[in-house]
């Protein structure tokens, strides 16, 4: 592995922290605002294929889109360890359960809702796939109904 490859990996933990931050926020959003619909795993049904079907420096954006679909969002990175800006694609999927009345806490009625948050971040070097990261979170949020 070249030095540039090695140093490029290090900031991923930063991205992971960022992902965790987004996960909690979006999970909470889902708990409070989920729309009705049928849950599907979306692009995450094929997440286990990323490491098999995509090759760093070889696969293209078209290959990623074929595997995971259109991204939910995009971004850019110019980390201190990078000498040029890189593109990233985001896939975020939030699934929630039925809200359940959980009685009262300190006299205040509360509703509990389970949620699952999944995220995939795909990194590109130009048009070429340069790596990925995924994170998942399962938890519950409780809030006071209006």
């Amino acid at each position: 592995m070249s030095q540039s490859r090695a140093t490029r990996r290090c900031p991923r933990r930063l991205v992971l922290v960022s992902a965790a931050f987004l996960a909690v926020i979006a999970g909470t959003v889902a708990a409070g605002c989920a729309s009705h619909g049928v849950a599907t795993p979306g692009p995450f049904a094929r997440a286990d294929r990323i490491g098999i079907e995509l090759q760093r420096g070889v696969s293209t954006k078209a290959d990623v889109e074929r595997l995971l679909g259109k991204p939910d969002g995009r971004g850019m990175t110019l980390l201190p360890t990078q000498d040029s800006a890189r593109e990233l694609w985001t896939y975020i999927h939030v699934e929630t359960g039925e809200p359940k009345f959980e009685g009262r806490a300190w006299g205040v009625p509360t509703v509990r809702m389970d949620s699952r948050q999944q995220e995939i971040y795909v990194f590109f070097d130009g048009d070429r796939f340069d790596g990925y990261m995924w994170a998942t979170r399962v938890g519950a949020a409780t809030r006071t109904p209006r």
Binding site: A6, T7, R9, C10, P11, R13, L14, V15, V17, S18, A20, F21, L22, V24, I25, A26, T28, V29, A30, A31, G32, C33, A34, S35, H36, G37, V38, A39, T40, G42, P71, D72, G73, R74, G75, M76, T77, L78, L79, P80, T81, Q82, L88, T90, I92, H93, V94, E95, T96, G97, E98, A141, T142, R143, T144, P145, R146
Partner: protein, 121 residues
């Protein structure tokens, strides 16, 4: 490869708690937004290794959070800008991390994403 240690995590966890509380209290019968739109388009005005703390503040505004990182090339402090908008099952998140090293701007990471929200029947 140098292993990274991230006090950033503790800072962000604190922010998460605040954000979670705000969202929980906000309710979602109408569109709700908090934070400030990160000025992504102004990043081009900053120069790596040249722009100062004051330059970044003037260009991007006051950060909503702070953190730190140890990278393979040394320590960096992180300035956080974020924005969240939600309503009727949709959420949009904009997120910007600015890296500062030796009192100068040294890079960024930004995201602009929607979250797919689904309810399990």
């Amino acid at each position: 490869m140098t292993r990274a240690r991230h006090p950033t995590g503790a800072v962000l966890v604190s922010l998460v708690l605040v954000a979670t509380l705000m969202l929980a209290l906000a309710g979602c019968s109408t569109s709700v937004a908090f934070g400030a739109q990160p000025r992504i388009e102004d990043l081009a005005k900053l120069q790596r290794g040249v722009s100062t703390d004051e330059d970044v503040r003037r260009t991007l505004g006051e950060p909503r959070g702070n953190g730190a990182a140890r990278l393979s090339i040394g320590y960096a402090s992180i300035w956080l800008y974020d924005y969240l908008e939600m309503g009727s099952g949709q959420a949009r998140i904009k997120y910007l991390l600015v890296f500062m090293r030796q009192n100068a701007y040294d890079g960024y990471l930004w995201l602009d994403t929607e979250a797919t929200l689904e309810k399990r029947e």
